[in-house]
């Protein structure tokens, strides 16, 4: 898909939103049911719970072409799996600091709590994040940090790296 609008030359960001099945994904569905209008910059990836979101996924998205990532779940205390969003919050808060340390604008990775009945909040969040990322421009604007992101990625195990290590270990034994 072209990154810039062919007619206007305007930058169209790629934003990925990890949404939990029970709250935010339902909220996004409700926004559709209510025919709310919001920018197409954000695509939703359904996960059972925000606690299922591995920081690797966020890194993968930022490394391979997304301009921003959102992680959304149920409000604290309302998790369908009782505690998943607390784990997500702790993990993502630490991870966010790491991403920012690497030099990325903080708006590029955000965590939001949206319930299944908050269709309006979902729309507002999408509008807000989309505007923020449009203002920041493409990921390349944070270019110096791109290398740092790769370095961060290197420190987090990926399934492929795992397989390699595992194979090497097997060999050694």
């Amino acid at each position: 898909m072209p990154r810039d609008n062919e007619q206007t030359g305007e930058f169209t960001p790629k934003i990925l939103a990890f949404c939990c099945n029970w709250c935010t994904y339902a909220g996004a569905d409700l926004a559709g049911l209510n025919r709310m209008n919001y920018p197409a910059d954000v695509k939703v990836l359904r996960v059972p719970c925000s606690g299922r979101v591995n920081p690797q996924y966020v890194l993968k998205a930022l490394q391979s072409g997304c301009d921003g990532v959102l992680v959304c779940g149920c409000h604290p205390g309302d998790c369908h799996y009782s505690t998943g969003n607390y784990y997500a919050k702790r993990r993502m808060m630490i991870f966010k600091r790491m991403v920012e340390f690497a030099g990325l604008s903080p708006e590029r990775f955000q965590i939001r709590w949206i319930s299944g009945s908050e269709a309006g909040k979902f729309r507002d969040t999408v509008v807000e994040v989309s505007e923020q990322i449009r203002a920041l421009g493409p990921m390349e604007n944070d270019a110096p940090s791109r290398a740092a992101i790769d370095a961060v990625a290197g420190t987090v195990a990926s399934p492929e790296a795992d397989e390699e290590l595992f194979a090497a270990a097997k060999e050694a034994i």
Binding site: M1, K14, L16, N21, W22, C23, Y25, A26, A28, D29, A31, G32, L33, R35, M36, N37, Y38, A40, K43, V44, L45, R46, V47, P48, C49, G51, R52, V53, N54, P55, Q56, Y57, K60, A61, Q63, S64, G65, C66, C74, G77, D78, H80, Y81, S82, T83, G84, Y87, R91, S115, G116, S117, E118, R123, A157, S158, P159, D162, F166, K170, I173
Partner: protein, 663 residues
Amino acid sequence: MSRIGVFVCHCGTNIAGTVDVEAVADAARQMPNVAYAGTNKYMCSAQGQDYIVDIIKEHNLDRVVIASCSPRMHERLFRKVLAEKTDLNPYLLEVANIREQCSWVHKDKQIGTPKAINLVAMAVAKADCDTQLFTHEIPVTKRALIIGGGIAGIQAALDIADAGFPVTIVERKTTIGGKMPMLDKTFPTLDCSACISTPKMSECEAHPLIEIKTLSEVEKVEGYIGNFDVTIREKAKYIDYDKCTGCGMCETKCPQKKIPSEFNQGMSTRTAVYKPFPQAVPSKPTIDADHCRMLTEGKCGVCAKVCPTGAIDYQDVDRVTTERYGAIVLATGYELIDWTRLYGEYGGGRYADVISGLQFERLVNASGPTEGHILRPSDGTEPKTMVIVKCVGSRDPHKGVPYCSRACCMYGAKHAHQFMDKVPGGKCFVFYMDVRTPGKNYDEFYMNTLHEGARYIRGRISKITRRSDGKLVCLGEDTLSGNVVEVDADMVVLETAMVPPEGAKKLAQTVNTQLGPEGFFTEAHPKLRPVETNTGGLYLAGTAQGPKDIPDTVAQAGAAAAKVIGLLCKQSIESNPMVAHVDDSKCSGCGACVDICPYSAVTLVEKTLRENSRKVTRTVAQVNEGLCQGCGACTVACRPGASDLLGFNDEGIMREVEAYATR
């Protein structure tokens, strides 16, 4: 190399209106591993299903992507199609949500089409990593738990028990019955509320399959559909119900007589050892520990002396039990909004003659504090002019709640009718915002009240003041004529909003389900699954789900009971196969997953594994598939990456991310 089929639904014009579905199919044909892509007008219809089935066979497909409405809508249906009509495993299916999250939120094809293509690309990438998943059978405990013993809980309990399944009702008050026995007459038929609700209460008490636990609350719920382990705290009643005959001697002799009666809405008093009303079920008294002199000051003991069977036990303690149930019905009811806190302009509770609708019900009831005579609480005289104010709290987002409480228009009309019926020559003014009377014979009832002479004035009361002669001066506006209206009333009845009961939020967390923004429990689908919740085995009845009147409550309770019976009839149910899975060869046995699991589904076990042609005994994590709910928290915590979530596996999600990011 998989062979993926992409099926793009038009959904009439719902999708095709803002997404060029043919272009999406064209783009899908270019995607890796896609062996076929096509469109259909309605993929969920019988023809659409046949089309999918035929194409799968014809093109020898081994994965399916359906681009249609939300997976929350029809994923189950499409899985069923694969399972029943094809050889494909039903979990080799992905749904791309191009309706709720695409066509419905965008206005033109320029935007909708590329987004739909992106969503399909993500689903195709994930589908490639899908694996066959298999369900297994979970036994169903053939017992139901009803939380809340109002008319909804009673109806559900009776229906389930009549079908032959044991039921436990947990009620936090001292009697079942809820609000219905407090009411005088019910609209639109004006039959006596107590006369139709108390027989149902005693039917519950007498039913061999119904167990009633009063003064009880649910403390903890563990487990899942078919097998909930529920911990119930039954508070001390200080009376041994096995010995008590319900003779009532203790009540007559109790010296503490000045406690406001909850049943009569504070308009009469009760004793410390009491039964809230004569037809209470269980028909045995309870000692109110906050007011009993023996329990608060350690002296008195009159009830123990007069009890002929020695049933009084001041040493009684709370009993906590844990039992297993197959299904749970939430019938927790409602409360009325505390208008005294919110509406200072109506006196904020300072004027005795400004009362709530429920207080009026007690006033007009033959078993109430005035034996059915409408008398002013302040001086006991008969009011000649009564003002009814509707929507107090309801439809008032600034002070009260934004929603309509649904029953008030009708019981407001009923109050007007009852006043005019009981007070000859009495004048009744009803201040309203709108009159909403949908329901069988409802509008006829309202029209009848109008013909009887009730004066309906469209407008709200802005202020009520009390004059020195005791008259309540109600100042309002008639918005139809534009005139300011002033009524000198003897009594004012406020028809207040229904709000969720205290503790609904805590209960939602205990039973693990969601509340809507207004604090009522959320149904799984507002139209198609109105009595189910998103948590399997958990059902809703009555006003727990939202304001409604008695006929709707009873109908919904019956519907919830039918769902419960449907579940309990099954010998076993299919488990959710989308659970965590541990790769033994990678697991280091660190136990991080054990600590993080909210369901205690992961344990560490000693296993003998074959590693490099050698037998090794190691400690590894093992997932109990019955307990695992598939949240995936453990998979992220797993350091060596041994734990993965079936159905949402790491590789699938990574590929999905990549498909979007690199496209």
